[in-house]
Symmetry: C2
Subunit: 265 residues, 2 copies
């Protein structure tokens, strides 16, 4: 940005750019058609800018005073008044920093022999999707596959829970989980369903999967669909004492990811 | 309960028993002086009753219709009107089942050579304390030690996140973490601080700890106090790629607990 050029100010909540940003925040379908998402946060926006294209950045005077480094970020910049920030945030308490980013485009073409993948089916809780994206990035996974019924990785809640991991690990949204599993198996990637029935104990499954591995995790309440379990090579479960009925999906998934972590970790 | 005897009904929000229950829900100090806590939930209350003494059970007509098995639980029983349930819950949306339970009394006398322990210091988030209690129970730990500054294990939020694990794994609240670590080390238990500085990679630490192990975890933001790190035998960290800055405390702790899980898991 040219430092001599003054940052334009948006004073109206009805400004077309603000309405557009709010629509991105509220509608997964609109995000998909625009190939863009809105994020909020003094720390989160600069973090996301490292991994994907920042298109437009909005900040309040208050935020800029607290974090002058915002001015150095790429993209179009706009100063916004506090009441405009409240509209973007949907709540009064907000950090005064918002940005529209490009959704990184990733397809199943990325999937390859020897890769490490996490696939989620019907994981509806944005906190769990975010946590699992973060763990997948931390433990050296090559991509996360999101099947039907999952929380959007580009919603505010998921972005917060993932701490921006969605732009650091490729996210591939697919229509059919069984087709994707078939594709992975053709490439020799071992597809392991997290399921209780007919499953091996995780501690008995080798951490080394030279052909690659895809850990497939289902909904918090109902688990995976039977077709998805059937499409996989085999099923695994985390052994537990009888003092616990179950684990939270984010925890169980992270333990599975840790088990199959990348080499050198 | 004598089935011939009719369950008394509480119709007033100002009933002394209701006020007492609300005070238990709101004050950690009162819970400690009364040695009792209040829990809410159609599934959670029966679950807790398996692990500790149920003193008083409150339910609405609606809840009893949905779960007639409530009538078979031990303790004193009271039917409550909906507006009384709202007072107990603090919110309108509630499941209409509440119970006062005895806090299981556990002390450092339980700590023994060869045991597996989790110790938390300044873990303030009730969700993280609850999650870690649940993982400790699932992975065969013998007790959880709560040092100063931790979220109360007997608050509503922690009880929900723990799914009742706090009565299935002994919880020992201690005043001094360094004294407790010294006591464990005297018994030959290896005390491992979760810390970044001067630490070994978890993958390089043997899962077998024949003398016993205590995993010590600190606050989400600041980690452990230096005195606590210094009191431990050594420090461990979870190896991560550079695509993640950190893990959520509940996730990181659960991965550590999984690594040091009980035999046969």
């Amino acid at each position: 940005m040219d430092p001599m050029q003054e940052t334009p100010i948006i004073t109206s909540r009805d400004n077309a750019k603000i309405k557009y940003a709010c629509k991105l925040a509220g509608s997964a379908a609109f995000r998909q058609s625009e190939n863009a998402f809105l994020a909020e946060g003094l720390k989160l926006c600069p973090e996301l800018a490292k991994g994907t294209t920042l298109k437009v950045l909005y900040y309040t005077e208050r935020a800029l005073e607290k974090a002058p480094e915002l001015a150095a970020l790429p993209g179009e910049h706009y100063l916004i008044q506090e009441h405009v920030a409240e509209k973007l945030a949907g709540v009064q308490a907000n950090q005064g920093v918002f940005a529209v980013f490009e959704i990184p485009q990733c397809s199943v073409d990325l999937l390859k022999a020897g890769g490490r993948y996490l696939a989620l089916e019907r994981v509806q809780d944005p906190g769990n999707v975010g946590t699992l994206l973060r763990s997948a990035a931390a433990f050296g996974f090559d991509a996360v596959i999101l099947g039907p019924g999952c929380a959007s990785p580009w919603s505010g809640k998921t972005l917060r829970a993932s701490m921006g991991a969605a732009v650091r690990v490729p996210v591939i949204e697919v229509q059919s989980m069984t087709d994707t599993i078939a594709l992975l198996r053709e490439k020799g990637v071992a597809c392991l369903a997290a399921a209780l029935y007919n499953s091996q104990l995780l501690s008995a499954v080798s951490q080394q999967q030279p052909g690659g591995v895809c850990v497939v995790i289902g909904s918090e309440g109902q688990g995976l669909t039977q077709e998805t379990v059937d499409a996989c090579d085999s099923a695994v479960r985390i052994p537990m004492t009888d003092r616990a009925e179950s684990l939270n999906a984010g925890i169980a998934g992270s333990v599975l990811l840790w088990h199959f972590r990348g080499e050198g970790l």
